[in-house]
């Protein structure tokens, strides 16, 4: 532990009970404090208008819980639903109200390509900007039969930039969270070849 402190690394004893992160200790601490602050606010003041998805140990669990809320509210079978992602115009500070159905999530990063807010499409990254913050996403529960692919890139969301994960006993990946359907002009295969992905956090 003393050695990890001197090397600016998260001590193994903490990593063992922590969440996946590649951050050095000096940025891991402030990030951890923000996460606790977010959870504390939810606990003591009630659910927020938009959820900081990366704060969670188990973001997949959050998605399921959000889906279940809707399923119960509308008395729909949960396995006949899926999320349609709508990219909102602004970032977390512009969201004051929760959506009527589904949830808002924020705090994601887009790697390998960029989001054009004015044209509402994916576009190539600006030079020297390999990764950028992504706006708030509204996850809207819709019928599973709806086609979400048309005009969209099925963008994978990972916890960290390592991307690779192992399957855990719950059937979830230790890194891959879900696919978000992000609108794009042109061929979605272009973004596949670009290695484009959404990430819950940066490495630093």
């Amino acid at each position: 532990m003393a050695r990890a402190f001197n090397d600016d690394k998260v001590p193994p004893a903490w990593e063992g009970v922590g969440y996946p992160s590649l951050k050095p200790l000096s940025s891991w601490i402030p990030d951890m404090l923000l996460r606790v602050e977010f959870i504390a606010k939810w606990l003591y003041e009630g659910a927020p208008a938009t959820f900081w998805l990366p704060a969670f140990f188990f973001p997949q669990g959050f998605m399921t819980a959000a889906m279940q809320s809707y399923a119960r509210k509308t008395a729909t079978a949960i396995d006949t639903l899926q999320f349609r992602s709508h990219v909102c115009e602004g970032f977390a500070d512009s969201v004051t109200e929760p959506p009527a159905d589904g949830v808002h999530i924020h705090g994601l990063f887009l790697e390998g390509c960029a989001w054009s807010a004015s044209r509402a499409t994916l576009e190539d990254s600006a030079p020297k900007v390999p990764i950028a913050e992504f706006p708030v996403i509204w996850l809207q529960p819709v019928d599973i039969a709806e086609n979400l692919h048309a005009g969209c890139f099925e963008c994978p969301l990972y916890k960290t930039s390592v991307r690779k994960g192992e399957l855990s006993t719950t059937g979830h990946s230790t890194n891959f969270v879900c696919f978000a359907h992000v609108p794009t002009e042109g061929d979605a295969n272009h973004w596949l070849r670009r290695g484009a992905a959404l990430l819950c956090m940066t490495d630093n």
């Binding site: 004893a13 996460r35 606990l43 959000a66 900007v129 070849r193």
Partner: protein, 326 residues
């Protein structure tokens, strides 16, 4: 491996046959016995670095007889180049880390060879070029057989689709955004080799479908490795001088972190809506979820609090410095 080392040491030059030679082949391994290495002549065979070198090697192995031996010469030559480009591009993408592939796969010449033979067979046997079948065989069966991550399967399919398509027969079709890379017009084998020879040495990530920014990721990773290695060589025990010892530094940091630690999350003081109930009287799903997250955060905070106190004490010398604390 120790057995091999023993055997090697038992070999006596004076009593062995003058024509006796021992050939050993091995995968890269960190446990290969050093004495065996030292007493032999070493040859390594690594795949060439870079798309151009890779294409060059592929085309060096193509025989004149094979190149001219297909009933659809134009289609075969064009698609053979597309296949070679695909082979080189997917291998070279690995150097960009996770943005290239989620997992680093060990594709081999045998994958290429199998695909090449199937390509020729399909062209010889069928009237039209079966693009869909070829795409499936090459990207999902031959190369895809090694691919275990479903996101990588999507990618390898998208990669091949750009090269194995009817447009590739068109001499003006480009294999990437760059103008320099295309399947050369139908001609003798020497022309194809000459075309490869003329390709640029330095490769833009666009060659593999990646954004030029991908080079940043590659360079940051390379520089990071260098910095970590240099840092790893730093002495652990500083002697004398006015600076603080590593122990003092660690102690200062642990006290600083301890001072910033938040209180444990107290579910007793929860807002009434957080763990509320739905109209049907069931506990709110999101409430159940946040309850589980709170447990995980409290577990983390408790471990941090405990180990920070222990480390401080261990540095002061009042508790034993365990392996975990060190």
């Amino acid at each position: 491996m120790p057995e091999l080392e023993k055997l090697q040491e038992l070999q006596d030059e004076n009593s062995m046959h003058p024509e006796y030679r021992l050939w050993l082949t091995s995968m890269p391994t960190p446990v290969f016995p050093v004495p065996v290495l030292q007493s032999g002549i070493k040859l390594t065979n690594e795949p060439p670095r870079g798309l151009k070198a890779n294409l060059k090697r592929t085309y060096a192995d193509v025989s004149e007889e094979d190149y001219e031996g297909c009933t659809k010469p134009r289609e075969y030559k064009k698609l053979l180049f597309a296949l070679s480009y695909f082979h080189a591009a997917i291998i070279e993408r690995r150097k960009y880390g996770a943005i290239g592939w989620n997992i680093q796969y060990q594709w081999m010449t045998s994958d290429f060879e199998t695909s090449r033979r199937q390509l020729k067979m399909y062209l010889d046997e069928q009237e039209l070029v079966p693009y869909a079948a070829l795409n499936y065989l090459v990207s999902e069966a031959n190369y895809g057989g090694r691919v275990t991550d479903d996101k990588d399967v999507r990618l390898i399919r998208a990669m091949l689709k750009r090269y194995f398509c009817p447009e590739v027969m068109n001499d003006s079709y480009r294999l990437s955004k760059l103008d320099a890379y295309y399947a050369p017009p139908e001609g003798p084998l020497a022309d194809a080799r000459a075309y490869i020879e003329g390709l640029p040495q330095e490769e833009d990530p666009e060659v593999f479908g990646l954004h030029p920014n991908a080079n940043l990721a590659y360079e940051v990773a390379t520089a990071g490795l260098l910095a970590t290695t240099v840092l790893g060589m730093q002495p652990r025990l500083a002697g004398g001088g006015a600076g603080l010892t590593p122990d003092q530094l660690a102690q200062n940091l642990s006290r600083e972190i301890a001072a910033s630690m938040p209180a444990l999350l107290d579910v007793e003081k929860a807002h009434p809506s957080t763990f509320g109930f739905s109209a049907g009287g069931q506990p709110l799903s999101l409430g159940v979820f946040v309850g589980q997250e709170i447990e995980r955060f409290n577990a983390l905070l408790a471990v941090m609090n405990h180990t920070l106190v222990q480390l401080d004490k261990a540095i002061q010398g009042t508790v034993v410095m365990s392996a975990q604390l060190e």
